[in-house]
Amino acid sequence: MLGEFKVSPAQAPEGGISIIPRSPTPALIAQGQITDPVTGFSTTLNFPLPELQLASALHASGVPIGVPSHDSPFAGLGLFIPHVIVRNLASAAQTVAITVEYPGEEGPAQAALAPVGLEPYSTREISLASALGLLPTALPFCSLRIHYSGPPGSVIGEVSSIEQKGDLVIDSRLANEGDGWAGSGSHPWRLDAETDSVLFLTNMGEQEVPVLFRMHAGGVTFFLTDLRLGPRETRAIDLRKLRDEQKPDFMGNVIPANATDGSVSWIRADLVPVMGRLVVLRRNKGIASNYDCPGCICPASFTGTLEVRNPNGNANDYAMLEDNPKNFEAYAFMTQCNTSQSWARVTADSRTDWKSYHPSIATVTNDTKSKGRVTGLIYGDAQIEAKHTGKVFPLPTCTPPQDKTGTDTIKVMVSEVCSGERGTIVQEYIDYRVTLALRCSFFTQTAHSQYFSFAEMETGDYTWALVRRPLVRPASSGYGLDRWRELYGAPRIINSAYRNPSRNARVGGAPQSRHMYGDAVDLRNESGTAGEWQQMDDAARLAGADYREPLSLSGYGHVHADWRNHDAYNDFAQ
């Protein structure tokens, strides 16, 4: 077909195309590809956002070069020669200087190549074959910094590493160093017999930078909390190794051992430019895919419960943290999407000051290594505060970063260590994230009311149960289970009262069902009729029940009532 163009491939093997819309409203997007159907050569051509070309330097991360070392994600794939293709958009000549950055024995190392000239409006392909002689024999990967002498945005480029035998091409999308968020956000990963996923992160700045890393798989969120990149350092995070290590994160979560799919997200936590990309390698088929995003994703707010160990050294010795509804990521960092000012991102890593308002119950550390780690000491509730000063990072085209200060608090609930069956039950409360701090003395094997025996109230898996005071109050108190029974005016059968968390889960109870708190009872509707159900519900209302399950949830089989707001939450009957 090129013959019809009257230009042979040899005449113009490289060049540039610019499409300038006449309308001021951006509406066009473009993408290109070069493929060789016979050899399998394939590379993607990108049209970078001009608005993100804010510096006169480009960066490529995680580039295979030479014969990758045995510890490389690219090991065994062959001999790679990186090719840098640069296009001068300006009418003046300029020079391009390429620096190879690689992991040296004593930290990040660099090798600068001789600058090359770039004529106006020209495109040039630069093979780095000659650079191999300047580098150690085998490297796991490298990064490339491409500095040009013209103004920002006057050079665009591509980097492709070509395996010399199989025409396997691994593209490394170039990011402008002025786009300090390049590639951050969420990325899909895959791991199977043929497929590996590796996240490359490059610090493009001259200062150390913390990076927040989060991986999702099978409903589990896994954090790397100690990830810091030195100046000009590139780090490869092999997601297979991370999964297979089965090492718990600070919350005790591990990536499911059989996870094959998920997402990974990362974001820098300081005002230092960082770029990254996820490479998905299908080894047997010689296919490599890159995933990175042209913009940034505001990380989701963190809500939920946290779990920490208390200091007695017992593996079963846990405390519970309950997060408050605010945006919050505990431990060594916090991120949140600021919704009040703008689209923005607040980070507060080393600049977060942690404080416990109840240090006799739970302490929180402020030292760098375990910053934000909460330790439960004795049973009780404690308020933990995090004061953070971070940066609001608008989009590159927006206003400059601004300092932002905020305070978040979490409620810490520390459980006591129990032995035997009660210890097992306490562990269930932790495992099932039930936000109730427990003491051993809360459990009973005898508590009962006038009308209902302990055996009737104990509908869990164990011989111990939690029975809160409203369930044993005399009817004369005006509220509670016996009052309900009397107002109804006839004996009733308990379908379900106390449930340990495991039992609650098995019967399909709500995650925070009051049955686990010891103040809920389901009384059977013996006739199954609407009339009897209504009479029982009316009686429960008159007996002061704080919550009655609507018919749409309970059905006609029983009436559910609980007294969650009566008596102290930790007033359990013995």
Partner: protein, 231 residues
């Protein structure tokens, strides 16, 4: 290296037109003038554009979507054909932090689209209501038999945020016998767009005739036309 059997090289510029699309969030939302950083974090109609997919010559195209949003997110997926036709899939939902893998061939076959002809290649747009970029996506185009792998990069389009490029600058390289080079341009708006095209090679900028991407007349614009007029 296997012996190459093809000696012809195609360098073509395919222009994909968007036909008019009456669909939420609708043109008014898209063309809004919300200032950058003003309300971008608010929930509002948004679009993700993926410039290219291909099912041609045995290729597989997979749309990978990941959610970075703590709630389930509903979205609509519109696939545009080479001729500008739109195949609209029923509403889908992505769960919090879920990864969705959507086989575009299966999807289009289910929508009775012509995957052999008009819908053998095109572009993808995703519509949803959300904050800025709770969704990320990419189309991966693979041809395992020939070891081809390409990606279509996501472009997010929150109304008024201006993340679409004002100018498009790209390059080609490594063109030789047996290699195909294709550049795809997609008009994401429902208005016609005029653009000037320049080709830079041999150290010179060569203006080509203006390009018009209208909403009503689908078609191809081949780079050879540019090339011929620039010589």
């Amino acid at each position: 290296m296997p012996k190459r059997t093809m000696v012809l090289t195609a360098l073509s510029l395919i222009v994909l037109f968007d036909g008019s699309l009456s669909f939420p969030p609708g043109p008014a939302a898209y063309e809004g003038s919300t200032p950058c950083c003003g309300e971008a974090s608010e929930v509002q109609p948004r679009q993700l554009h993926l410039a290219y997919y291909s099912l041609a010559n045995g290729s597989h195209s997979t749309l990978l979507l990941v959610s970075d949003f703590p709630k389930a997110l509903d979205f609509f997926l519109a696939v545009r054909s080479r001729s500008g036709q739109t195949a609209l899939a029923p509403m889908m939902t992505i769960q919090p932090y879920e990864k969705l893998s959507i086989d575009l061939r299966k999807l289009l076959v289910g929508l009775s689209a012509d995957v052999i002809g008009d819908f053998s290649e095109g572009s993808v747009t995703i519509y949803f209501n959300g904050t800025i970029m709770p969704l990320a996506g990419q189309v991966t185009i693979t041809d395992p038999l020939r070891n081809l792998s390409l990606e279509s990069q996501m472009i997010d389009s929150p109304p008024g945020l201006g993340l679409l490029p004002k100018e498009l600058h790209g390059l080609w390289w490594g063109i030789s016998a047996g290699r195909d080079a294709t550049i795809v341009v997609t008009n994401t708006s429902i208005e016609g767009v005029s653009a000037d095209v320049f080709l830079d090679f041999h150290g010179k900028r060569r203006p080509s005739g203006p390009l018009f991407l209208g909403p009503t007349k689908p078609g191809y614009f081949l780079l050879r036309t540019c090339w011929a007029s620039s010589r």
